[in-house]
């Protein structure tokens, strides 16, 4: 945006209804007792913490859940991500990870259809300080699927 042009600012672009809803009632929230992969994600700057639980058969995400505490953006992102990922093949998950990364960090066009409800997080890119909140769960999932067992930090 050129300097001097006043941004028409509406906080609702960030806190869309779907985000407020998923923050209030997060889906797939809680421990997965028979998880085969468990990984923690931590955002030291704001103290967001989450644990991701995964059940995979090497090809597909059969089940996925999370718990922890964080801001509305991080909780809604984890809720929406787990909803989208359930039942997905690992290849599809990798594609979605990259699409989401582009959504929150670039001005590139995005495929609204494949992102579905996740497109509600598009507003995050206008808030550089909040991109980490939205991407914490995604980086944690990505590391877990790569077989990395070191807790993920966004710093």
């Amino acid at each position: 945006m050129p300097e001097g042009i006043q941004l028409m600012f509406d906080i609702k672009d960030l806190y869309q209804e779907v985000i407020v809803d998923h923050n209030r009632s997060p889906r797939n929230f809680g421990k997965l007792d028979d998880a085969d992969t468990t990984l923690e994600g931590f955002n030291p700057l704001c103290g967001d913490k989450l644990t991701l639980y995964l059940k995979t058969d090497g090809k597909k995400i059969n089940d996925i859940a999370f718990d922890g505490s964080g801001c509305a953006i991080s909780v809604a992102s984890a809720s929406l991500m787990t909803d989208a990922m359930k039942g997905m093949s690992l290849d599809e998950a990798e594609i979605l990870f990259n699409e989401f990364h582009n959504l929150v960090t670039t001005d590139d066009d995005y495929d609204a259809e494949s992102l579905g409800k996740l497109a509600a997080l598009a507003g995050v890119k206008d808030y550089p300080a909040r991109v980490k909140c939205a991407s914490l769960c995604w980086h944690t999932l990505h590391s877990a699927l790569q077989g990395d067992h070191t807790p993920v930090k966004t710093e």
């Binding site: 103290g47 967001d48 913490k49 953006i73």
Partner: protein, 420 residues
């Protein structure tokens, strides 16, 4: 909220504090954020700078810039004079006995590290004890953890109560003939609690311990007299005192500084260097290796001139009234919880809102032009004590107004509308 304890040290002024007059000195207060007037309530993170400070730094670089203590040319001599004059202003400002006791450092953090590594590392041994408090900023925790690891000394914490006040009975139990250092913040950056440091210093001295006071949050809000406090060390940062970033002050009693080895080696801190050995310069230069932040020191001098002219006592009284007003208004917001309700506190309103994370509060308030800090305020043990990940913190300076408090309250209301 009762702040009568703080008010005791403040002399009443007959004329009302003319906030509008002082606001004109701060150009940044005319800025707009997201199309709304900036309401800057993040003064505990860093304070804004009056034009007197900005212009002094500008003039230094335009007219006088030169290295100090080494040139025979006119500019170098001029720069040296104004640099050393600023040291004299700091000495007067905190009532030190001599300019030898005023060491320029990068900020309060570097001052604490200097004391830990020069004084602490050379005097502590395994079994000795360092006492700090649960209220401390990370800058007054981590240097002592490092020192403990290096020397085998034990680190102990004075606990706080639910109001965010130090429990002094517990402090007395921690003190013993093993106590070597007591490190305590003058005013808490996370909660605004004013600690009874004179009492803490007296009790530490009774067992032979040395005391370092972190005054980063205190110097902008209260008159500091190091002779009266009888502290051994006192540190503060220029940027919270309406001066530039990157400059701060370590005060130390002359005899103690004299006994300490240098912290860093380099130019300006030596008397004579041969290939085998060097002899060190006199105080305070022994601790000022390398070309210092000359413009920063001169800017800090201008900031001290500014607050001296303003009258810190009158400003402090105004800030207490403003905090009382803000606390009263905030107490009427449903679902708002105060974090830190010490009887003696100043300038800081730390709070949480039911069901809304402080980070989201920070972003929504920013949308209304209101700048606050959201997070753990570099005081994670304080957050742990209250079992919360973070707070939202509004921190006030003498240039804030009741209208700005009203804007804060309206913005909090907007947060609740977004989430409900």
């Amino acid at each position: 909220m009762n702040n009568s304890n703080t008010a005791k040290t403040i002399t009443n002024t007959s004329a009302p504090f003319d906030v509008d007059r002082f606001r004109k000195d701060f150009p940044i207060l005319n800025e707009q954020v997201h199309g709304k007037p900036l309401v800057y309530l993040d003064n505990a993170a860093t304070a804004q700078k009056p034009k007197q400070v900005i212009e002094t730094i500008d003039a230094y670089y335009r007219e006088t810039n030169s290295n100090i203590h080494r040139g025979v040319h006119t500019l170098s001599e001029k720069a040296t004079v104004i640099y050393e004059k600023a040291r004299g202003k700091v000495k007067e400002f905190i009532n030190a006995a001599s300019t030898k006791e005023i060491v320029f450092v990068r900020g309060a953090t570097e001052g604490i590290n200097l004391v830990a590594q020069s004084f602490g590392r050379n005097t502590l041994k395994a079994g000795d004890e360092i006492i700090i408090t649960e209220l401390e900023h990370h800058s007054n925790i981590v240097p002592w953890q490092i020192l403990s690891e290096q020397t085998g000394a034990t680190l102990k914490y004075i606990p706080i109560n639910d109001a965010g006040e130090l429990i002094l009975e517990e402090y007395e139990k921690l003190l013993s003939d093993k106590t070597r250092i007591v490190a305590v913040g003058h005013i808490s950056n996370a909660l605004g609690t004013i600690n009874p440091i004179k009492n803490i210093i007296d009790k530490a001295h009774a067992v032979g311990a040395k005391v370092i006071v972190d005054g980063a949050q205190a110097v902008p809000h209260t008159r500091v007299d190091v002779k009266d406090l009888d502290c051994d060390f006192y540190v503060f940062s220029g940027h919270k005192l309406f001066g530039p970033t990157g400059i701060g002050v370590l005060y130390g009693k002359e005899a103690i500084l004299e006994s300490m080895p240098p912290y860093q080696g380099g130019g300006d801190m030596i008397q004579m260097v041969t290939m085998e050995k060097s002899t060190y310069n006199a105080l305070p230069y022994k601790f000022e290796a390398g070309t210092p932040h000359i413009a920063g020191v001169i800017g800090l001098g201008a900031a001290i001139d500014y607050v001296s002219e303003l009258g810190l006592e009158a400003a402090a009284q105004y800030e207490i009234e403003l905090l009382d007003y803000a606390s009263e208004q905030a107490s009427q917001v449903p679902g708002l919880n105060f974090v830190g309700t010490a009887k003696s506190k100043t300038s800081i309103l730390s709070f949480t809102l039911d069901g809304i994370h402080p980070h989201d509060i920070g972003t929504i308030l920013d949308g209304e032009g209101v700048a606050i800090r959201a997070g753990h305020h570099c005081a994670m043990p304080v957050m742990e004590r209250f079992n919360i990940p973070a707070t939202a913190r509004a921190s006030f300076a003498f240039y804030n107004t009741r209208q700005e408090v009203d804007a804060l309250i309206q913005a909090i209301d907007k947060c609740q509308k977004v989430f409900n």
